[in-house]
Amino acid sequence: MKFGVVRFPGSNCDFDAYHVLLNVMKRPTVMLWHKDHDLQGVDCVVLPGGFAYGDYLRVGAIARFSPLMQEVKTFADGGGRVLGICNGFQVLLELGLLPGAMLRNIHLKFLCQHVHIRVEDARTDFTRAAKKGQVLRIPIAHFDGNYYAPPRVLRDIERNGQVVFRYCDAGGRVTPEANVNGSMAGIAGVRNTAGNVLGLMPHPERASEALLGSEDGRAIFESLVLSLGRRKPAGRPAPGKKARHDR
């Protein structure tokens, strides 16, 4: 199996994701340049954190037009696994591969700190190495992590079980205090209806080595390795028709 980490001008956590996949998870990993059209046969595309295109216009807004992202869209539409971390999540939202949008953090400050997130669904390709209800301690570092979806979209997401992670306290309770950026329904990560695309704001690559304070983020990479090793089609689509908001 092979992983690909996308590099936009302004991506910062590209080498971090690359390091964890190659040196910690010990899987073949390549960097994918935004101007290329070649996904180099990877089995999973990782969109890393950072400030792609300086976050100018809107976070993730310009990145989605890059040549490589057209390939990523085709890849995802065909069932390929795509993981969007932080800025990567923002790009997936702009591209329409995931529902909703990101707003500025509610207290208007950049936040870099550890948070807890609860696994809401352990059946996805990104969480099958974890258990439902498991609490993961993973850092966030963002200015625009306030997840928003219009009421109808939010209802659909919840009904389809597309919320994969929610901000919680150390004991796993989803409380307003635990929701430091003001995200709707405490949403920290969502998947698409088909289940092959996931975006989350926290940085699992920053919590994959004990030396750095937490290894809880490894569960996400381990899940991917497990899923890719199974050679089964990507996830089972949730019941119901393909939602309108998957643009």
């Binding site: 001008p9 302004g10 964890v20 950072g50 300086g54 976050d55 870099c112 570092a141």
Partner: protein, 736 residues
Amino acid sequence: MIDKALLNRHNLTEDEYRLIVELIGKEPNLTELGIFSVMWSEHCGYKSSRVHLKKLPTEGARVVQGPGENAGVLDIGDGQVVVFKIESHNHPSFIEPYQGAATGVGGILRDIFTMGARPIAVMDSLRFGPLDNPKNRSVMEGVVSGISGYGNSIGVPTVGGEVYFDPCYELNPLVNVFCLGLADKDKIFYAKAEGAGNKVLYVGAKTGRDGIHGATMASAEFGEETEHKRPNVQVGDPFKEKLLLEACLEVMDRGLIVGIQDMGAAGLTCSITEMAAKGGMGIVVDLDQVPQREAGMTPYEILLSESQERMLLVAEPERVAAVQDVFAKWDLDAPVIGEVVEGGRARISFKGEVVVDIPVDAVVNLCPAYDRPITPPSPPPPAPTLGALPLPDDLDDVLLRLLASPTIADKEWVFRQYDHMVQLNTVFLPGADAAVLRIKGSKKALAMTLDCNSLYTRLDPRTGARIAVAEACRNLACVGARPIGVTNCLNFGNPEKPEVMGQFEQAVTGLAEACRTFGIPVTGGNVSFYNDTEGLSIHPTPVLGIVGIIDDIRKAVRPGFRAAGDAVVLIGENLEEVGGTEYLRIAHGLEAGAPPAIDLEQEKRNQECLLELIDAGLVRSAHDLSEGGLAVALAECAFASEGKTGCEIDLEDGLREDALLFGESQSRIIMTCRRANLGRVLELLAARGVPARAIGRVGGDAVAVSRKGREILRVPVETGLRAWKDSLPGFFRVRT
């Protein structure tokens, strides 16, 4: 044509002008005058400080590059080097806090990657006026946002620093930014233009009218510029800098260039002349090739512009295409704007005419150095004797007030705004005694810290400076690191005032003494004079940035108490020293007295013994004592402990309670060890001539201190934690 008023606007004296004429063999034209004006300014020429900076030790076995280049370089073994420096951006940060701080970060980052090192850490030392004044809050918010905005965007973690508050900084806030990068020893690049026929390339952002200082161009031949085109504040673009960083590192990694210099203070002028001078060559430049983002710029403006995010490269002609390809990949232009030539002169043309023709040596190496008049600093205002100072009734309350005072209080409000984890190297997050970064692929780690207690330096500059070095090294020792090198940012008032020069001279003397004692070379730094507004001068503030190495990251030690039952050991001696303390300031409203004494040799012994104990695996936690003394240090250890565990301390000292709890005697460290190892620990300390004793145990939910069995302090950890944690956020709560 060149009259006194013009010279004044260019900050040049008549004597300096005469010297210029002598050196270049003619009267300079306006553009050439402008060049000398910036290159011979205090900031670029170090006129008032050079004479004293010569005293600093700059040599050592690890030194690959000392002062004089963009940054210092030290060998850390395994074929790697660290490249680091600290710089100030004080005056711009008062005018425009966000951009002043942001461009300060941008500037120091460029100083590091221009040497071929990828920046892996930033720290900042910030000083503001007291927070009860909304103007100071606004400056602080702007500065922190600026550092955050720039550093986060470019993906370099801000891993530590310090924040101090004092009225003397109200009109002169200080923003000192430190940056450190990692590189391979055989892949370092210097700012030298060598090889006649080599091409000079300009890369990065287009040049505009940012930050052009001083002189109003009234002369008709320099255009019809109107007021709205006048110099404005430099605005940073971190995205541009990120592209520049990646592109530059790529061309350097592939060995495609010969020399490189960033355009910082004095922009193009500085890089052109310095690169030529350092290479012993001359340089020819055509300004028409310089990318410009505003129409109608004059040569003066192009040369003096301080537009950000620009670099100057030198490459062999055969390599130019390859270099330009790399920059094109990153969507950056890299036009050739000139050539390296023999002869030692800078010949710059504009629209077909030569507008500058001067020897580079005169500009770069022959700036006069002044030995300005000095008045030795007056002795500090005497503090009342302890007997004459009333003992506060409620010492618990005094501790809470100290914990809540902004200089001591928790700085999470600040560092939460910085991405301190990107690049996956940060092992000790902000809040420990020093920042600790792992080196991937090795068990070594780097530790770094910034320190200066400016109240001590105001009361006694020489002692204050010695203490600043000692404290920084002590911070490093407490995480298990040995210091290897120093960078300093010397922030002072107006050097034309003899008292200020006296402070400077004494501070540099103290710095030199301490660096020699610890055997650490100064690899470079920055001097910021003229921090002085309306007659109010800042305290002399020599900020030290010290870098250390931990041989085995698994042995690194944190400040928090680990488990109930552990023995608490005090290294060092409690003396009656309340002069210059936070306690004296907060409980009695006095800034007086001599600062605590410092015995550099004893300090060194104490630190080395601690390192030995850490190496032997005997130390469970360590924390140094500084502002607020013993009581504050114990509280900080409790706050940093996972379970918020307190301690029970019993002392024998005969000092009065307030001196005992809050005095700031130097060279003291609180460490904890397992009860079973206490004997061995005390034995080793005694054998090394280090005063130390067991003073109690970890446990309970309060910081409790008794003297000979009689309780003198008991503050529940939760209560102290709230005072400490809620202070800064309390000042910045949004009011409706």
